[in-house]
Amino acid sequence: MSQVEAPRPIERVAIPGGGNTYGARTALMLFTPIQPKWTLLVRVSLWLGKWIPFVQQHILQFRFIHFVRWAVVRELPYNGPPQEPDRLNYSYLLFETNFDGAWRNYIDSFAYCISRDIRYLWGRGFAFPGPPPAEPLKAWIAENSMEGGTYYCAYPEASTRDVLAAVAVRDRLGALVNESEGLSPEAFQDAYRRFLVDVQAHL
């Protein structure tokens, strides 16, 4: 007998929208509790993240994420009365990301391609529905994501891949301009053709 969940609720997952999107750019922000026994591990893992190749190759490899940040928050900033200090029982994992395309497809990448990393990090919380599968993860994210407000993108028409392609073209064009000093037309044509071959996937 296959082990499948009971039929999922008929209501579909509410999709974050409004403040979270501008054109084809989407922002997602989560703020979720960490089990006390794992807080140090999470802090250290993130802190070392930059230098661990595993992290670079996994969570940070996706070419549809513009900027992504994590923070571990133990207490919220206090400014004196009339603010009452917020004493939290847990440390919280803050996650903010700006990415291209649809939220639902974005989460599929997390669920199917880097599921271990996701479970490693967010699984240090409570009742985290470890991917795969993806649908319970989407429900969890919809439940936990911060909504509304306003969203600003300095170059909203450009996806991450557009930016990377543009930078690659710029750099390769610079090299072509340098190498084309004093070339004969035929030699230039050759150099230009090599340039096109190098940037064809970026145009």
Binding site: V73, Q83, G149
Partner: protein, 184 residues
């Protein structure tokens, strides 16, 4: 000491500023009515890549085995910014170029000194800054200006590459020098 708010030349600023009791609706209305896109006041900040302003007013209880429930005593206005360069000039730019708007949304927050009081303004934002543990970007050494120029350049290169198909070498070289070489 490595600054974990940094990636390349980019910087991630996160601030949680407590909203004055009863002011949550006013803040919400204020930030949701902001113009979007190039008309946004945030567009005046030329080192700003991406930014969000949103209200944080609930800590979600995850269910068992979470034993304790956290409840926020205040709502918070959360400001996240991915910028290039340093934080101080960025905060200066907010005070210089959008003081009225900044006062408009942060004015509803506890102990906000106002953008006119530059040093207090910056101190207040830094006091409410939440340090990041890890920040990353796929193009962390490109400024906003560099990104925009590169995007425009790519369009020109494609136009040229399409139009230049089939040109004789001398003509190709001539047009390249006239139309593209100077753009780099």
């Amino acid at each position: 000491m490595f600054d974990h708010n940094r990636a390349g030349t980019a910087y991630a600023f996160t601030a949680f500023t407590a909203i004055l009791p009863g002011h949550e609706e006013a803040v919400r209305e204020r930030i949701e009515s902001l113009p979007r896109g190039p008309e946004s006041p945030l567009a005046r900040l030329d080192t700003l890549h991406y930014s969000r302003l949103q209200i944080f007013d609930e800590l979600v209880y995850q269910g068992p085995p979470q034993k304790k429930r956290d409840r926020l005593k205040s709502s918070y206005l959360v400001f996240t910014a991915s910028l290039d360069g340093d934080l101080d000039p960025f905060l200066d730019a907010i005070a210089d170029r959008l003081p009225a708007e900044a006062d408009g949304w942060w004015g509803h927050c506890v102990a906000y000194p106002g953008a006119a009081n530059r040093e207090a303004f910056k101190r207040w934002l830094k006091h409410n800054q939440v340090p990041n543990a890890l920040f990353s970007s796929m193009y962390s050494t490109e400024s906003v200006q560099a990104v925009r120029s590169a995007l425009a350049l790519r369009e020109r290169v494609l136009e040229f590459a399409t139009a230049a198909q089939g040109l004789e070498p001398a003509e190709l070289q001539r047009r390249f020098h006239t139309e593209l070489a100077g753009l780099v």
